[in-house]
Structures are given as structure tokens and as C-alpha cells.
């Protein structure tokens, strides 16, 4: 899902049905399809996997694909046990543009993702080090950034600045929340300026890019980390691939906009396997410990 399309957005050939099918397929790309049974299919290698073989790290036991995670799953593999304290847990969206049926869209997303909005923020310890932590959730309207995501991330950054703490943000997003119109675009400036103050205070910001991180989130806080880590093969970019193809009418190179591509082009510091992330984050926090 691309949210920052400009000149050409969708190829319109093919019927409604075909397009829906295609985009459904795309949406699930890095995600295992989970029927109720005991088996799931990895959408990367297409292998049929015995569900119990997938650990809390949510990796494909066959090809090591990093499946998309929810914030609660992320907390379980990242934070020291019993240290997580959530901030702004009750914030919910309004409908600034009076977008028809936005309330229903939100309700459906809340049911699907089991959270009230597309980001969860809080503080915790990682390997004994205090930090503020924000985690986006791609299961919530593609992790799109509207007022609530912008406000919660901004408050988390401001909280970190006030308490002289580092902040770690796990990004995953299709970009700005179109249903909230221009107000969602303003969130980009809002989060960026809060990070500017955190930066001036000499504090550490680590961005952890996960699949997919695109659009207005890439063009604001995802790319502003003092240190930018990425999970392997995560899709990271500004424009969506279909938009680029529609603009330039060329085939995109193999591996385009993947984490490895971004590393090669100098926009990511390190690609870190999910099983190593907690340890690496702990080390980074320790290396930046104040006093």
C-alpha cells in the first residue's frame, strides 16, 4: 500500500476483482497465512510450516523470513520481564476530515490488531538499561500515521527528552493515514521537531526498521535515528513500488528497497537478525549510558 503516490497510482488494467486479489496477495507478502489448523504457509518461500515450529521470534523455520509482529509480541522478545509500562494507552482517533465510515474502519482495525491505534509506546528496561520504546503495528491500517500515531510518538519522544532517556522506535508503516487528510501530513513535522529537541539534548535515538517502512514514516522519523538498524529483507523506501513503476515505466531491480539495498546505499547502519536484536539494543544502550 503506497500512501505517497503522486503521478500515477494504480495500474487500472484488470477488473476490480483482479486488483483486489492482487493487493490482498501483496498485503500478506511477509506474513504467514494462518488458517485455524496446525499448518501455515510462508508467503516468502511458500513452504508449508508446522505452526508449533514458529517460535516467539516469528521466523520461518524454512527460509528464515521475518514475519510481521505485533507490539505485544515485540515486547515479549525485547523488554526485560516485568519492566514494561505503557504510556498514553487510552488515546483513540477522531475523524478530522469527516471521512465516511472512518469510525467503522477504525473499529475493524482495532478488532483485527487488538489495540486502539497503530502504535504502542511506553518505557522499559532492555538488558538492564532504561529506555523509552515505541512500536508500530502494520496490522492496524498498515501502520499508517494519523493524529494518534503522531501524537503518541511525539509524546514518547518528549517524555524521553524530559527524563533524559534514549528512545527506540520500531517502525512499520505504509505512510500517512489518508483518511485523516492534511492533519496526518502535519504529524511528520511534529514528530521530526520533537526528535530535533531530543537530539539537541544529546540523547540517543535508535530507529529499528521492520517490514514494511515506507512513505511519510520513512520521510520523517524512520530516517532520523542516530543509529538505524533494520531487520533482514525489510522493505524500506519512500515511494511505493507500483507508483515508481507507474512513473518511470521500467522494471525495478532485484532487491530494490530491501534492507540490504538500503545498507548498500548508506541509509541503514546495521542489519540485525531478530534473534540478536535485544542483545544488540542492550549493547547500544550500554555504550550510550549517561554518567
Amino acid at each position: 500500500m503506497n500512501l505517497f503516490g503522486k503521478k500515477s497510482y494504480f495500474s487500472l488494467e484488470g477488473g476490480e476483482k483482479e486488483r483486489t486479489k492482487r493487493s490482498d496477495k501483496k498485503r500478506q507478502k511477509a506474513e504467514p497465512s494462518i488458517p485455524d489448523g496446525m499448518w501455515i504457509k510462508c508467503n516468502t518461500c511458500k513452504a508449508i510450516i508446522y505452526k508449533k515450529e514458529v517460535t516467539e521470534y516469528k521466523l520461518c523455520p524454512n527460509c528464515d523470513a521475518h514475519f510481521r509482529m505485533s507490539p505485544s509480541e515485540r515486547i515479549a522478545i525485547t523488554c526485560d520481564e516485568g519492566t514494561w509500562v505503557e504510556l498514553d494507552a487510552k488515546m483513540r482517533p477522531k475523524n478530522p476530515m469527516n471521512y465516511p465510515d472512518y469510525e467503522q474502519v477504525i473499529e475493524k482495525a482495532q478488532k483485527k490488531a487488538g489495540i486502539l491505534e497503530g502504535v504502542v509506546t511506553g518505557r522499559c528496561k532492555i538488558c538492564g538499561q532504561d529506555t523509552v520504546l515505541a512500536m508500530m503495528d502494520s496490522h492496524f491500517i498498515m501502520g499508517s500515521m494519523g493524529s494518534v500515531v503522531g501524537e503518541k510518538v511525539t509524546r514518547a519522544v518528549e517524555y524521553a527528552t524530559e527524563n533524559r532517556l534514549p528512545i527506540i522506535i520500531f517502525t512499520t508503516s505504509g505512510g500517512a493515514r489518508m483518511q485523516e487528510g492534511i492533519i496526518s501530513l502535519m504529524q511528520m513535522a511534529k514528530v521530526a521537531e520533537a526528535l530535533g529537541r531530543h537530539d539537541e539534548a544529546g540523547l540517543l535515538y535508535v530507529a529499528v526498521l521492520t517490514d514494511p517502512t515506507t512513505g511519510g514514516v520513512t520521510a520523517s522519523f524512520a530516517m532520523l535515528g542516530d543509529i538505524i538498524l533494520s531487520e533482514p529483507k525489510a522493505l524500506i523506501g519512500f515511494a511505493g513500488q507500483r507508483v515508481i513503476q507507474g512513473t518511470i515505466h521500467q522494471k525495478l531491480p532485484e532487491g530494490f528497497q530491501r534492507a540490504e539495498f538500503q545498507l548498500e546505499h548508506g541509509f541503514v547502519d546495521r542489519i540485525v537478525h531478530r534473534e540478536k536484536l535485544r542483545e544488540e539494543l542492550g549493547k547500544i544502550l550500554l555504550l550510550h549510558k549517561e554518567g
Binding site: 503516490g5 493524529s147 492533519i183 501530513l185 511534529k190 520513512t218 532520523l224 523506501g237 515511494a239
Partner: protein, 266 residues
């Protein structure tokens, strides 16, 4: 055709005055500077120094052309990362010499291409947002035409954000909105209206601070009248902003963008 759609068609007219024309009509002795010192000179962004009456200023803007040839040279007003980085370089230069910055915005959006991604379009825009928010000199941003998404806000983190009557500013184009959200590209006019992308709507929700009326005969037929109004407003506002304590200037700019967002907490 609804009001929003009327504005959309007006600002997209090929004869719509572009950034260079506004610069020539408002400032004296404009001296253009090129390049981002990193990769290239992006024709989609023009920038340099000039006098606003007696006040030295840095001017940066997104350029569109009136002919195909001109449009090829400025990439139809869609900057690549080097364009945003050139803009930032010139803004940092303005900060060093304590000149105010005036930016002109007129773009369908940042360019979407392979090279743009390879050179970090997202990073370039993000960096501008952060650096503009703490630039220790006044910034005024003026929307003279289209204001497409991240590619527009990358030059619009200002102390004051102004717009011409038919200017617009949105999270994506009405065509994109209609085809992505409704999968129906024929509903463009409806999308344009719903998105509240016109100067009048943006004034209401304080995304812009001021709207400048356009002449009935069309902006292209009487640019001087609007340019004179803009010049007067720039002189007034900039002399005030230049007097302000830097810490207050930055705090006000911070709060200007900090306030956006509608949500409930309970």
C-alpha cells in the same frame, strides 16, 4: 465542478506563474546558487540570495516550467533528494549569516524514481523537517500552486505558512486518494472536496496562517498585484520575526506544528 476541483485545475495550468517569476517580481538582485555539494544540481529546486527591499534574504523554491523543454529541465517540479539537500544547504547558509528564509512551494510531490530511492528521498525530506524546525533564523513558506505531500512539507516547516487563493496542500493528490481509497479514479472531484485541500479549508484548521486573494483575470495576467501584496506582507512579518529572540522564535515554530492532531483520551 466544486470549488476544490476548480482550484486544482487553476493551479495545474501550464501558464500558472512559477517560482522564478515570483522571485523576480518580489525580490531584487536575485543571485542563483546551484548544487547540494553532495551529488548534483537539481533543476526542480531553485535557490539563492536576494534583497527584499534592503533586507538580504535566502530564497528557495520548487520550480515548474511553462513549456515541455522547461519542464524537462525542472523535472515537472518534482524534486529529487539532491533538490531537498540543496534547499537545506542554502537554509543552513542563511542561518549562519542570519538572513531570513523564504520558500516557495509548487509541486505535485517529490519524485518517485529508482535514483531518488537510491539516494534517499525519504532521508532527504526527513532531514529537512528536522533541520527546518530548529533553524535559528525566520522562515516563511508560501504555497503558490500545488502542495503535494511529503515533497511539499519538506520546504514548509515555517514560522508562517501562507497560500495563494487557489493554492492547495494535501496528503496526496485527489487522483491518488480516489484510486487508493475508493479504487475509482473517476471520483477525483469528490476526493478533492473531501480532502479539504483548499486555502479556505486550510485556513480554518490553521495549517496555513494567511491566504492571498488572486486577481479575477487570473494570476498569470496580473502577477504584479499579488507580488506586491506578498512583498508587503513579507516585509512586515520578517522585520517583526527578525527582532524576536531566537529561543522564542523556535518555541513558537515548535508549537505551530506541535498542535496538529485530533484525538480522544479516555
Amino acid at each position: 465542478m466544486n470549488e476544490a476541483m476548480k482550484s486544482v485545475s487553476i493551479v495545474r495550468k501550464i501558464e500558472r506563474p512559477n517560482t522564478r517569476q515570483f522571485i523576480d517580481a518580489i525580490f531584487n538582485d536575485f543571485m542563483e546558487f546551484h548544487g547540494d555539494r553532495l551529488f548534483a544540481d537539481d533543476g526542480a529546486v531553485v535557490g539563492g540570495i536576494a534583497f527584499l527591499e534592503k533586507m538580504p534574504v535566502t530564497v528557495v523554491g520548487i520550480q515548474k516550467g511553462h513549456t515541455l523543454e522547461e519542464n524537462v529541465a525542472c523535472n515537472f517540479g518534482s524534486p529529487n533528494p539532491e533538490g531537498y539537500r540543496k534547499a537545506l544547504r542554502l537554509m543552513k547558509q542563511a542561518e549562519k549569516f542570519h538572513r531570513p528564509v523564504v520558500t516557495f512551494i509548487n509541486t505535485a510531490g517529490a519524485f518517485c524514481g529508482i535514483g531518488a530511492e537510491e539516494r534517499g528521498q525519504g532521508e532527504a525530506i526527513a532531514r529537512n523537517l528536522l533541520e527546518m524546525s530548529r533553524l535559528k533564523t525566520p522562515v516563511i513558506s508560501i504555497f503558490i500552486g500545488e502542495g503535494g505531500s511529503g515533497g511539499a512539507i519538506a520546504l514548509a516547516v515555517g514560522d508562517a505558512v501562507w497560500m495563494l487563493e487557489h493554492g492547495m496542500y494535501s496528503v496526496l493528490s485527489p487522483e491518488g486518494f480516489a484510486s487508493i481509497l475508493w479504487r475509482d479514479s473517476s471520483r477525483v472531484a469528490e476526493a478533492a472536496e473531501l480532502m479539504k485541500m483548499t486555502a479556505k479549508d486550510l485556513l480554518k484548521n490553521e495549517v496555513i496562517d494567511r491566504m492571498f486573494p488572486e486577481p479575477k483575470e487570473g494570476l498569470e495576467n496580473n502577477l504584479d498585484a499579488v507580488a506586491a501584496e506578498l512583498k508587503k506582507a513579507l516585509l512586515e512579518t520578517l522585520s517583526k520575526l527578525m527582532e524576536e529572540e531566537t529561543s522564542l522564535l523556535l518555541e513558537n515554530r515548535y508549537q505551530r506544528f506541535r498542535k496538529f492532531g485530533e484525538f480522544v483520551e479516555s
